[in-house]
Structures are given as structure tokens and as C-alpha cells.
Symmetry: C2
Subunit: 474 residues, 2 copies
């Protein structure tokens, strides 16, 4: 062991210097010795480099979000190690065995778990999963030993013996998990945990091996991987959702006032009803510069109770955010049960600004379409109301608004050099928008192209669309 | 109102550009209209600039930390606005009225609240506190109205009517709060909330006034304030805690082995006992470069359950941390009930490295002594076991260890140019260490100077000190 410990310590330091993001997951039968093993492991490592997450009992805010949320927000940044003592398999292990979720939901969870793991490894993370196995008899023996020691007797509860009696059911779920979630980039290592020393050696050897392999591949630095480019749908002519949009649509000020008031009253009531039902809402606003997103959001939220919604403005990521998967900050912003989050720009920036401006290389933004669909499927699975709006205006209208902003003293700050530069790239953005809508428009996460030349029309359009969607769930 | 809204919008933008950290607190009687008022306010502001925190019901992780924790970790960074719908007065309002805490504890809370607010404003934050007042009759009228509306009737519960009957008790607590927590830098604005329109105007006018004043003071940029320099104790000769330390102390390897094993066994048991009692532990490690902090921590934690402790290594703050009060990141790292956090370096870096290297201006690090005492008093109030260790070695021993590190291949990474540079500043650091110990050694947060020339001795010293302290609380 001492040799293995030194070797792992050296590799761990090299991994850190290389900016490697290392995710270690430990699952296993109760009393298999996860705690002891993890402790042994972290003592071979620099305490500056890792964090241990023990997520046996979830807190209320954690339970109120999609089932992968508590884990997604805790994935370590590049250059660090996250050690998960039990992880994102809860739904297909405990919850399944205890019949806390329907078969349909835990079956679906496999796809979501696999997608989650692939996203991590595509982004360059090294994911290593251990399952600590002991037999039923050995478990009984260990539980008795714990029970008989006065210092640990409190750890063995009646419920634990009940679990023990259901050992076979657990075993069946475990077998399925191992079969369905072993992917080349996220393999399981099953550790025979009857013998502590043996388990330790297997753990250290496995880690040393995967670290060595990865570090030799990357020759020191870890690149962001660009695999899994989704299939192009070939060269067929696509319909243009933007061209189909009738920009001449408008509204009389009087009718606007009436419908605005009605919808605002209604959305206030719906906010309360969905709050009580625990149904969350996520709204995504994207649109051309000067399309009127800000004013639109303001009308939407004017009557809402501020304790129940939050507007999340999305700008360039900060240094902490940059060290994570780009979806990380959006995971963090997801609403609690019954709450609403309004994204003023969103995860779609990757396939818009980052694509057009070249901030993300092509394989990365191409990969993002699928990542986004998968991300949104977590919201759908959690029964979140999810609506996406592209506020559309034409180029002439944009020019008119830019000029108007320049003329109005208290609006002048809104218009910058960058806006003029972006305007020059109208066609490139247009192409990106069309592809984005085509590839991420799904029944449970639909895109609405909002005719925006008339601000009044656009506001009512969004408000009434949101009201209708909330209505269905109230 | 429209004029006030535009004016506030303009000021808010200027404040953001100036990097102003704005903290708005709303307290008030139930049904006084905080929600409506806050919503009106945020609609005059750029959604990119603020966050609303509604902290009526605390989550379990929030309740398991010092009472100011949920608020301290949510204070906005510079350039942003935090709006608190109910805030850190919970203990002297609800908890006091409902007799959930002893008189002694809520009385002490006043000092802690005042210190907390002073720390924020010393750091450059602009803090504005509103209390929304309505009379008992008006409250009854509004509760009835809510109750009679089918959409809102669920909001009025039996408990609310009970609160209403205790209006006078609440009023008494409020009066005391207003009297005891109005400071020049953190004044209360009492808003007569019987009339919504009046309340709105008062709110907007007050905010416009304070923002104008602050922005004109700072002529655009907001400086970090350097007030409240604590009193020097004059020129008297201080005893030197470092000189008093007997560095010749050592331990035979055999005795070391025996005592190590005993303490490790004991600390493992104590960890479980304190976990069950919900008693948290915070350990601070500071010391000279190469004093052996890392190895010492490893021996301390070797036998612990990794699910119950966390080692927090403290390096230079990242960009997000820099935009907050320097204690913010330590607030965030405080342990939950029954957990242990080991700080490998800590908040003391401000009065050590930052002082000696000139990263913090003198008024700032001077102020830090008091800030640290106050911060640690939160831990004491929360009945956290808090111990602070300075691992002391002499200059010769440091030289020996530096040279040894250079000779040993797998330790060479530990020694850098910077270590040699720091070594040149030994005397300046020494002075800083002595002053730090003198000014922050308190009964509930004692400093232990650990004789560190013998690593074995130092490890046993720390372990046995920690065991003894935990023992008292087990």
C-alpha cells in the first residue's frame, strides 16, 4: 500500500496541474465499507484538491429539483476532484427498490443518467465509478458487529434490518444498473469488499491505471473533447421558422391595455396555484438585440409575487463558471418547487453567440444541441413548465430601434459598439437561430417565435402563451 | 411615480457601474405589503442587477449554522443588489416573540447583528433597511380581505390569526429593534404602509436620496472604507507567545505511535458522539511554511468518517470571492450540525500574508482583528467547538526542511521561489503572528501555539488538544 499511495499522490498532482476534472463515484451495499475506503483514499491525496460529497439524505431544496440536480451542481471544476459517497443512482437503486417512483420514471432515469455522464466526459471529465459488493451473510455479520459495539450501535436501525431482508431486491436493481450504465467512457469497477485490504488495493490500482492512461493521452494537458457530433439531417431544404413569422402583426393600444391587465391578473393567480401544487416554471427569452426582451419580461413579471420568481440575466461566464461544464450555471439556477425562473438569455448562447463569435469550437457547439435537449428533458421529467421564446424582429426594425436609443438620453447606455458589430453578422446569427430552433424544438420544450416588430403584440403573445401553459397545469 | 422610477433606474445603473454593493432589507408586519412593494421596486430596476431573497422558512442546512449564516452567504457581490424579504432580524423578532430562544441569546444577537451590518458597510456596502408598519386594526382588515378572496384564502392560516392577537408583543420587539439597531451607517426607514401609494413614494424617494448621496461621495467609484480602527493597546511591552514556546520538545517514535493510535481511536468515537448531538467543530491551522500543517491534518483526520468532515484549503481568493467581503467565503464553509471543518489556512491570512505582502491596506487589516473576533463569536454563539493552531518552528528548522524538500524528488514540488521569498520576511511575519495571537485569543476561540520542530510532538499536541475540547462537549 505505501507504494501505491505515493504513486497515486504523484498522479493526483499531475492531474491537477493538467486541469483534469476527476469525478469518483462510490456506490455499494450498506456496511460494504465505503466510508473507510474513501477515507483511506483521501489520505493519499492533497486536501487542497478534492471534496467529498455525502448525499444520503437530501435536503428539501434538493428534493424540489430534477433528480440529478444535487449532483449536477456539485460536479467539481477542472483541476479538482469530486468524491461522491452515493450519487446519482438513487432513483434506479433506493427509489426503485422502495417503489417511491413509478416504473416509467425510473426506466427513463437510465437514459438521463447515461446522458449526464456522457456530457461530463465529453467535456473532459474523468469519471470513475466503483460499486462495493458484499454478500447477504457478510452484511448480516457486519451489522451485528456494529450493533454490538456501544459506540456504533445507533447506526444500525430497524429500517436497516428491513433493507437487509430485501437484499435480493437490491441485488437485482444493482445488476441492472451495472448492465445499463456501463459505457466505455464511464465504466463500473465492481470491488469485492469482503476483505478491506483487497478492496483498498483494487481501488488504488484502478485509479492509478486510469489516471496514467488519461495523462499519457493528453500529454499533460486535457483537451475539451469533441466527440459525439449529432447526425446532420442531410442537405434537404428546411422550412424557416423565422420567415414564417408574420412581422406585420400588431395591436391597438386599447386592446393591448385590456389584454395586458387580464393576463397579468391571471398569471398572478396561476403563480399561486402552481406554487401550492409545487409545479415549477422555466421561461427562456432569446432574441435579436433590441428585440425588447427586457420590457417583455417586465410586463410578464409585473404582477407576480417577487418571492416566487427570479429573473436570471445571462452574460459571459465568470472564471468559476468557465471551469465547469457550460450547463452547470443553469443547473444551479433551476427553480425550486412552485417557483419560476425567467432566463434573460440562456444555455442557448452556446449555439448562438458562442457559435457565431467563435468562442466555442464547432464540435463543441454541435454537441450542444443534444446536450440541451437532454438538459431540457430533466425539466420535463420533473414536470416543469418550460417555454422558450425567440423574439423576432427584422433588420430594419432593429436599425430604427438602435437609432432611437441613441437619441433618447436615458436609453443611450443600452446601445454599444458591440450591438453595431453584431448587427453586421445578421445572416450568420440568422442561420444559427434557424438551426437552434430546428434542433431543439420538442413537444415538452417548444420554441415560440414571437412576432416582435410590435412590442405590444410581442408582450401579449408571450404573456398569453405562458398563461395558457400554466393553465394546463393548474 | 413614473418620474421616480426613471430616476431610480438611472441611479441604479450608475451604482452598478461604480461597483456599489447595495443591500436592501425589508421587515414589517404581516400583510403590510412587502411583496407588492418589492415587486414595484424591482420593476424599476435592471433585472441583471439584483436578486430577491425570501427567507421566511429556513431549510435544514440553514438552521444548522449560526443564525446569521443564511444571510451572510447571500450578501450580493460588489456591483449588485441584494433584496431581502425578511432578513437577519429573525432572532430578535419572531424567535424572541415565540420564545424559541433564551433571553440571553436574543439579547446577544443585537451585538452580532450590529457587528454584521458594520462589517458590510465598512467593506463599502450600502445598506438600507425598511420597516413596513401597519396598525392592528388595519392588519385585521387586510387578513379578512385575503381570507375572503378564494385565490388567496389559503394564505391566511389559523397561526396567522394567533400572531395577529399577539400584535402588541410583536410591536414591543419591533420598537426595541428599531432603537437598538439604528446606526448612522445602517439606519432604519419606517414606512407607514396603510396607504400603498404613499409607501411606494417613500421607498423610492429614500432610495434615490441615499444612492445620490453615496454616488456623489465616491465620485463614481466606491472605495473600500477604512473606518473603525480598533484601539491600540499603547506602547507597553507585550509578552511573546512565540518566544514562550519550547521548541526543544519532542517525542520518542514509540510513544508517538501509542498516543497517535489512542487519540485517533478516541477522535473517531467523539466524531460520532458530536454528530449525534449536533455539535459542530471548526479547526484552524496556521503556521510557518514547512511547519508541517499538511501532515498534521492528515493524522488528525486519518480515522475520521469522511462523511463528517471537510478540509478546506485556503489559497488566494478567486474573482467571485474578491467581489465579496473577505469573510464571505469562510461563512460559506462553516460546518453543518455535527460536522467538522478543518481550515488549512483561514481568515487569518488577512492579518498575515495580506498584511505583510501589502495585499490589504493597513486600515483594512487593522479592522480585520475586530471583524475576526466578531466572526468567531458567531461560532461560539452557535456552540461550535473552535480551536486555532499556530504551528511554530524556528528559522533554522525551516531552512533544514526547505533543503530536505529540494533533495527529495516526490517532495520537490512543495518548495517554490515564493517560499524562499517569504522566508526573507521572517521578522515581518513574526510581528504579524504575535499581534494576531494577542488580538484574537479569546476564551471561546483560543490560540494554541504548537511546538513544531518535532513533527511527531506537534501532531500529538494538536490531536490531544482537539480530543480534549471535543470531550468536553460529548
Amino acid at each position: 500500500m505505501p507504494g501505491l499511495e505515493i504513486e497515486l499522490g504523484v498522479l493526483e498532482r499531475r492531474a491537477r496541474e493538467a486541469g483534469l476534472q476527476l469525478v469518483l463515484l462510490f456506490e455499494g451495499f450498506d456496511t460494504a465499507g465505503k466510508g473507510t475506503l474513501i477515507n483511506r483514499l483521501i489520505h493519499a491525496m492533497d486536501p487542497r484538491g478534492f471534496e467529498v460529497h455525502s448525499l444520503r439524505r437530501l435536503t428539501r431544496p434538493e428534493r424540489e429539483r430534477p433528480f440529478l440536480w444535487p449532483f449536477a451542481v456539485r460536479i467539481p471544476p477542472r483541476g479538482r476532484i469530486g468524491i461522491f459517497d452515493r450519487g446519482w443512482y438513487r432513483r434506479v437503486l433506493e427509489e426503485r427498490v422502495h417503489r417511491k417512483v413509478s416504473r416509467k420514471r425510473w426506466s427513463r432515469a437510465y437514459d438521463m443518467i447515461n446522458a449526464f455522464e456522457r456530457q461530463l466526459t465529453d467535456d473532459g471529465a474523468l469519471l470513475v465509478k466503483f460499486f462495493l459488493h458484499i454478500g447477504k451473510k457478510e452484511q448480516a455479520r457486519r451489522m451485528k458487529a456494529l450493533d454490538e459495539n456501544p459506540a456504533t450501535t445507533w447506526r444500525v436501525k430497524k429500517a436497516d434490518w428491513r433493507e437487509h431482508r430485501h437484499y435480493e431486491r437490491h441485488l437485482k436493481a444493482v445488476d441492472e444498473v451495472l448492465a445499463r450504465t456501463s459505457a466505455p467512457q464511464a465504466p463500473w469497477t465492481v470491488v469485492a469488499a469482503h476483505d478491506h485490504r483487497h478492496a483498498r488495493v483494487v481501488l488504488f490500482r484502478t485509479l492509478i491505471e486510469v489516471l496514467k492512461r488519461r495523462l499519457s493521452e493528453g500529454s499533460g494537458t486535457v483537451a475539451v473533447h469533441g466527440r459525439d457530433k449529432p447526425e446532420e439531417r442531410g442537405g434537404e431544404k428546411h422550412r424557416s421558422r423565422l420567415d414564417e413569422t408574420d412581422l406585420t402583426l400588431g395591436l391597438e393600444r386599447e386592446e393591448y391595455g385590456r389584454r395586458l391587465e387580464e393576463s397579468q391578473q391571471r398569471i398572478y393567480e396561476l403563480q399561486h396555484r402552481l406554487f401550492r401544487k409545487g409545479v415549477s416554471t422555466a421561461l427562456v427569452y432569446q432574441g435579436w438585440d433590441a428585440a425588447g426582451k427586457g420590457g417583455n419580461i417586465r410586463r410578464l413579471t409585473a404582477s407576480l409575487d417577487p418571492r416566487g420568481y427570479r429573473v436570471v440575466p445571462v452574460g459571459a461566464p465568470n472564471e468559476v463558471e468557465k471551469a465547469h461544464h457550460y450547463l452547470w450555471r443553469f443547473w444551479r439556477a433551476l427553480p425550486r418547487a412552485g417557483q419560476m425562473t425567467v432566463f434573460d438569455r440562456s444555455w442557448y448562447e452556446r449555439v448562438l453567440t458562442e457559435r457565431v463569435e467563435g468562442f466555442a469550437p464547432e464540435p463543441v457547439w454541435r454537441r450542444a444541441y443534444r446536450e440541451i435537449r437532454e438538459f431540457e428533458s430533466h425539466l420535463a421529467d420533473h414536470e416543469t413548465v418550460l417555454l422558450k421564446f425567440w423574439i423576432h424582429i427584422d433588420r430594419d426594425e432593429q436599425l430604427r430601434r438602435f437609432r432611437e436609443r441613441e437619441r433618447t438620453p436615458h436609453k443611450r447606455w443600452k446601445i454599444t459598439e458591440e450591438d453595431w458589430r453584431n448587427r453586421e453578422k445578421w445572416e450568420a446569427y440568422r442561420e444559427a437561430v434557424e438551426e437552434m430552433i430546428r434542433r431543439t424544438d420538442q413537444p415538452e420544450a417548444p420554441w415560440h417565435v414571437v412576432p416582435g416588430n410590435s412590442k405590444l403584440y410581442a408582450r401579449i403573445f408571450v404573456l398569453e402563451t405562458v398563461v395558457a401553459a400554466m393553465e394546463k397545469r393548474a
